[in-house]
């Protein structure tokens, strides 16, 4: 063995020629210098290391961080309930399903420890052997092939530190891991770890992952399912079974192999586990079914609630009590679904739209949505944002701005009635020119006459334009805003025919006002919000505070009768029998890209829309009456089971008369019309009818014998 001591004989022999004292003295001096240098180096290094570690905070770790870790709140999902207290959905920043350590299945713990930290129960936060092993493997292979982080380190990395890769972070990770294990029991660390790590598909923790991938609690998973979940900790996105099933299977086998190596399972069990097929759920949304749109809507509504100050609503475990009626919601969904095949057929008549994914053009998809409200309370009772939430999460009831077409006309006629016009007033149907705006109908419509009532229930455009010019655009748009249209209304006469886009909630407010006898009740999807412990943090205003009268009850009643006539004699005649207790109006925009039926009973407002998101035209005479009305009809008939039909309230000051639908005079065989008292037509014959019945075809035929 070579003596490397600087004071050994070989070195001393080199000084033999000099006097021995001098040699000795030189040696000693050299030794001192060397020692001094070495001491300086060591001290300097030590000081530098201390200084470095001190600068990192290793020596003054904030124990509040440890408290944060131990007090980790897993139950921060906000839950949404229907009007009867049944949970209909939840929302969150991170999807958690808390599982206490005691509920973690053994096979899962075995799998996790086998693949992630075999010496978990042996080390004190840092597996130095593991580090050495990893370094060795790295040295041999030239690249990192095995991680050496313990579960504790991973937990620290994911909760207290940032995921950056640096020496500083690694040192802190080790320090925190060692510190954490001084204060937190192993089982608790395991519990925090298994409940907090992101495992893909929006799931945080194994409880959430078991729900997302297998639709069951972690306690109910099989060993092979547990092995798959355990495999996700390394890289949830890379091994996501919903996206990469083959990779996930490979990873699962790695976990099973590791379990076998650690001896927690036998080779036979490993073989069986490897062979067992996995039935995991494909990716799905957190909230499913038709209520999902409503839950989304609730999320969007919370920040806008007046007086509600909680900002981070996704992490505060709110309990949100809504007005949704699950029975009506299901009925609304069925009412659309029952027409699925018809709506699919409609797609054959849809125009082409650009295909943003594949290029070129494609047929647009037919969508349908429905909003149901209670006109007296403003409660949103049902909200169907589209035909299939899984395919499209876009909520068409609130977020789609669409042209209402003739569904806007009730506002125009209500304003006319308010200004003294009456249903029997005669209009000469001809094209209209308003500041060079010249909408044209089919020419067959012209050269005719009609009462205002008939023009309304037959949804005639030219008479409506004429009325609009007479009553004034500003008064119409003003009333529309008063009645609840919050979307912007264009300052042009086309708005009278529904050219300004609105939302379904806009229309629900307008028709709700008619249904409630002229009182607008603000739509209100939430009745109360509490914290998880039941403390009320928000409650909606009283009904009186939410209501505003915008039409007098008589005008509102006249409009309701006009909209009953839509069903008995107009564009909604296919549902004529419903007029006994319902009223409504069709709407069809240009090229039938929007097809509406907005209707109501005394207790329910239901707005139905059918169209395409791309505003594609629908050919073949699609109208609100032909494609939206059947859905509305289905719903209103079904709703009788939940809201028994009753007649509309008739205020004082209303008279009825049978009136000629075209010429506006009273006649026993005419159409039933309603008027303000003393405003009904007095004439029993009109000159127009006299002319029509004349044998000469003329009027005042004294010269025509």
């Amino acid at each position: 063995m070579t003596d490397k001591n600087p004071f050994n004989s070989n070195h001393a022999s080199m000084l033999v020629a000099d006097p021995p004292q001098l040699e000795y003295s030189l040696w000693r001096r050299a030794l001192r210098v060397t020692l001094a240098v070495m001491g300086c180096v060591i001290i300097g290094t030590g000081l530098a290391t201390y200084s470095w570690l001190n600068s990192l905070g290793v020596f003054k770790l904030d124990h509040r961080q440890i408290d944060t870790l131990t007090n980790f709140n897993y139950q921060n999902n906000s839950l949404v309930f229907d009007r009867n207290g049944a949970k209909i959905g939840e929302f969150f920043e991170r999807y958690h399903v808390f599982v206490p350590h005691t509920k973690l299945p053994k096979h899962f713990i075995d799998a996790l420890i086998a693949i992630e930290d075999r010496s978990f129960y042996e080390h004190h936060g840092v597996d130095f052997k593991g580090i050495a092993r990893a370094l060795l493997i790295r040295f041999k292979s030239g690249r990192a092939r095995q991680g050496a982080s313990t579960l504790t380190q991973q937990l620290i990395r994911n909760t207290i530190l940032t995921p950056e890769k640096s020496l500083n972070r690694k040192v802190l990770e080790i320090a925190w891991a060692l510190e954490a294990e001084r204060y937190i029991p192993k089982d608790k660390i395991l519990e925090i770890y298994t409940n907090s790590i992101f495992l893909g598909n929006g799931a945080y923790g194994v409880g959430a992952a078991a729900q997302r991938y297998f639709g069951k609690s972690i306690e109910d998973t099989t060993p092979e399912e547990s092995a798959l979940i355990a495999g996700l900790f390394q890289s949830p996105s890379r091994f996501n079974p919903a996206k990469y099933p083959e990779r996930a299977k490979t990873r699962q086998i790695q976990v099973i192999n590791a379990m076998r190596k650690t001896g927690v399972i036998t080779p036979a069990q490993a073989t069986a586990m490897r062979a067992a097929p996995l039935h995991y759920h494909p990716y799905k949304f957190m909230n499913e079914g038709s209520t999902a749109w409503f839950v989304d809507y609730i999320q969007e509504t919370l920040p806008k609630l007046p007086g509600f100050e909680i900002k981070n609503t996704k992490q505060t475990g709110l309990r949100i009590y809504t007005t949704l009626d699950n029975s009506l919601q299901a009925l609304a969904q069925r009412s659309i679904s029952v027409y699925d095949s018809r709506l699919n057929d409609l797609r054959t008549r849809v125009g082409m739209v650009p295909d943003s994914i594949n290029g070129g053009n494609k047929k647009a998809t037919i969508e349908a949505s429905m909003l149901v409200t209670d006109p007296r309370t403003g409660d949103i009772l049902a909200m169907i944002g589209g035909r299939d939430y899984a395919k499209s999460q876009f909520n068409r009831t609130e977020n789609a701005l669409r042209s209402p077409g003739s569904a806007f006309k009730p506002v125009v006629y209500a304003q006319a009635l308010m200004q003294g016009y009456k249903w029997s007033d005669v209009i000469y149907v001809s094209p209209v020119n308003i500041d060079n705006y010249r909408p044209r109908n089919m020419e067959d419509d012209y050269l005719t006459e009609t009462t205002m009532m008939r023009a309304f229930y037959k949804s005639m455009n030219a008479p409506t334009m004429e009325i609009a010019t007479k009553v004034g655009l500003q008064s119409i748009t003003g009333l529309a805003r008063k009645m609840g249209i919050q979307s912007s209304i264009k300052d042009e006469f086309g708005s009278a025919l529904g050219s300004s886009d609105v939302t379904m909630t806009d229309l629900a407010r307008v028709y709700g006002t008619f249904a409630a006898g002229g009182i607008l009740t603000e739509l209100s999807p939430i009745s109360k919000i509490t914290t998880a412990d039941g403390t009320v943090v928000w409650q909606r205003k009283t009904i009186d505070q939410r209501q505003t009268r915008v039409l007098n009850s008589q005008i509102s009643y006249l409009m309701t009768q006009g909209m009953r006539a839509v069903l008995t004699s107009g564009t909604g005649f296919k549902s004529s029998d419903l007029a006994a207790y319902a009223a409504g109006k069709t709407g069809t925009s240009n090229n039938s890209s929007d097809n509406w039926f907005c209707g109501y009973t005394a207790d329910l407002v239901s707005v139905v829309w059918v169209g395409t998101d791309e505003h594609a035209p629908i050919y073949g005479n699609a109208t609100g009456g032909s494609v939206a009305l059947p859905i509305w009809d289905q719903f209103i008939r079904g709703s009788k089971s939940y809201r028994p039909a009753r007649e509309f309230y008739r205020p004082d000051g209303i008279v009825e008369a049978t009136v000629h639908p075209v010429y506006g005079h009273r006649t026993p065989s005419g159409a039933r019309m309603y008027f303000l008292s003393n405003d009904q037509p007095k004439e029993t014959e009109s000159a127009l009818e006299t002319m029509e019945n004349s044998s000469t075809g003329g009027y005042r035929h004294v010269f025509r014998h």
């Binding site: 003294g420 016009y421 007033d425 005669v426 209009i427 000469y428 001809s430 094209p431 209209v432 020119n433 060079n436 705006y437 010249r438 044209r440 020419e443 012209y446 050269l447 006459e449 005079h665 007095k682 004439e683 029993t684 014959e685 009109s686 000159a687 127009l688 009818e689 006299t690 002319m691 000469t696 075809g697 003329g698 009027y699 005042r700 004294v702 010269f703 025509r704 014998h705």
Partner: protein, 523 residues
């Protein structure tokens, strides 16, 4: 039934016939034959209508004188008789043959004998005398009754007219039941003949009122002079020369058109376009207006027909009068189109070709639309649609309706129309109708009543006057009706035997409410 023997007896008792008819007794050329004036006979006939056949004609010349001049007079008398036979007897025989089954000879006071007379009887002095005597009785005598022939079945206006006739008679303190003989023509020619036969042979009326329908008016017009009965027709006169005994007691489109032209002059409208209904019902009015316009120095800029059953036809007519499709404006349209396209591109808006339209080229001061108010309302809309902001429209009686002004269309402001009815409040009390909203507007179900009542009221005035002139021979009554100039408010007839009926002009205005106003323009 009278027998030939009986006739001969009568003929013998009237032997002086030939002396009654001198050569000058007949002056019938274009005017009715001038019959002898058997005042005595007429008087007797009126006093003793029950036995007219027994009343001899009063001789104008002595038999002796007759004897002396027999050869020359006889020939002349025979010639006269033949002429009378041709002119009156044959038509009367024809009429007798057309009588209805209810008209029996015994109810004709001997008039039925006319059917027995032949031209041969003119050769014999005695039979000739009897012949002439009978003719004289038929054509001269009258009962003071007024015959009314109306198509009661199937028409509603007739009842209004009859009511007005009765009201007028009552207002003269007479009994309508004794004065009026009303017969339903059922709008059939054969019934008109039967009615005429009945009125002549049975009721021996003083005058006849009727002819509301064109076919009836034609028949009555043709027979009035033949039976020498003043006949008052309640329809538009034809554009032919007037005929004796035939009077038109009906407002005329000519007078209305003249009033319309006068109104244009008054409003300073020198250039007028005409929209002409293709069903031709207003052709007469338009023709008359064109004549009147020419006289008044008004230029007709366009005359465009339209089919009132088709919107495209009406729009096309309107486009024509405002030169919106004129080939010479093609370049103008092209420039407008390009300019609008550029403007849209500049503002980033979608170009809408429907917003590009030529502005109307207005070359007229007013537009005549002689159609009903409904068409006028539609034309007003079309004009507005084409970009015409203001254009006085004018028309006639067919405009007058609540429908013209309600609901109000401001385009109608400043328009006007002519009518034969003035204010409804000016109607005579017995035929007055209620006018709850305006003195110029009536309820739709009262308008026909008002129109036909007024026509009837005015048409019966002269027949009733004549019926009271019992001492006058009927064949002379034509001369009792004076001819007076136009534009009189009283009931009179002009040189063409057409009633003088002053039209009224109404203006149309609005005041911002949902109903406009119709006002009578001061004369």
């Amino acid at each position: 039934m009278f027998s030939v023997t009986k006739i001969k007896v009568i003929i013998l008792t009237q032997a002086l016939l030939s002396t009654c008819l001198g050569a000058g007794a007949l002056e019938a050329t274009t005017t009715p034959a001038k019959l002898p004036e058997p005042a005595k006979v007429a008087t007797v006939a009126q006093k003793q209508p029950e036995e007219p056949a027994k009343t001899p004609l009063a001789p104008q010349k002595t038999p002796a004188h007759a004897e002396n001049t027999k050869p020359s007079n006889d020939a002349a008398a025979e010639q006269t008789c033949s002429k009378l036979f041709q002119k009156f007897t044959l038509p009367l025989q024809d009429l007798w043959k057309r009588r209805g089954p209810d008209l029996r000879p015994e109810n004709t006071d001997g008039y039925a004998l006319i059917e027995e007379i032949t031209s041969e009887q003119c050769k014999d002095a005695e039979t000739r005398k009897a012949h002439i005597e009978l003719l004289a009785r038929i054509l001269n005598s009258h009962s003071g009754k007024i015959g009314v022939i109306l198509p009661i079945t199937g028409n509603t206006y007739s009842k209004h007219m009859i009511a007005a006739f009765e009201a007028y008679v009552r207002s003269s303190n007479l009994d309508p039941k004794k004065i009026l003989v009303v017969i339903d023509s059922q709008s059939k020619d054969e019934h008109v003949y039967q009615a005429l036969a009945s009125l002549i042979f049975e009721h021996r009326v003083t005058a006849i009122v009727g002819g509301t329908e064109a076919s009836e008016a034609t028949i009555l017009r043709a027979w009035a002079a033949k039976v020498m009965v003043p006949t008052f027709l309640m329809s538009e006169p034809p554009a032919t020369a007037p005929i004796a005994f035939v009077y038109y007691a009906h407002p005329t489109e000519k007078s209305l058109a003249k009033a319309a032209a006068d109104a244009n002059v008054r409003f300073g409208h020198k250039r007028v376009s005409i929209l002409s209904p293709s069903d031709q019902h207003s052709d007469q009015f338009i023709f008359a207006f064109e004549e009147a316009a020419k006289i008044n120095g008004i230029t007709i800029t366009d005359k465009v027909p339209y089919d009132s059953r088709r919107f495209d036809s009406m729009e096309s007519a309107a486009r024509k009068i405002f030169h919106l499709d004129a080939s010479e404006r093609r370049d103008e349209l092209k420039k407008l189109y390009e300019s609008a396209k550029k403007q849209a591109a500049k503002s980033g808006e979608r170009f809408n070709p429907k917003m590009v339209a030529l502005q109307p080229d207005i070359q007229q001061d007013a537009v005549l639309i002689p159609d009903n108010f409904k068409m006028v309302r539609h034309f007003a809309k079309i004009f507005g649609y084409l970009g015409v902001r203001r254009m006085p429209l004018f028309g006639h009686y067919e405009w007058r309706s609540q429908g013209l002004i309600s609901p109000w269309d401001s385009f109608m402001n400043g328009s006007y129309f002519v009518d034969f009815q003035g204010a409804y409040t000016s109607l005579p009390d017995p035929i007055k109708i209620s006018t709850p909203d305006s003195p110029y507007l009536a309820a739709a179900d009262k308008i026909e009543q008002a129109d036909f009542s007024l026509i009837a009221w005015r048409a019966i005035e002269w027949p009733l006057k004549l019926s009271q002139k019992k001492s006058d021979m009927r064949r002379k009554m034509d001369k009792l009706i004076p001819k007076k100039p136009e534009n009189r408010t009283d009931v009179s007839f002009d040189a063409n035997n057409t009633i003088n009926w002053a039209p009224s002009v109404f203006t149309v205005t609005g005041n911002g409410s949902n109903t406009g106003h119709i006002n009578l323009l001061g004369q």
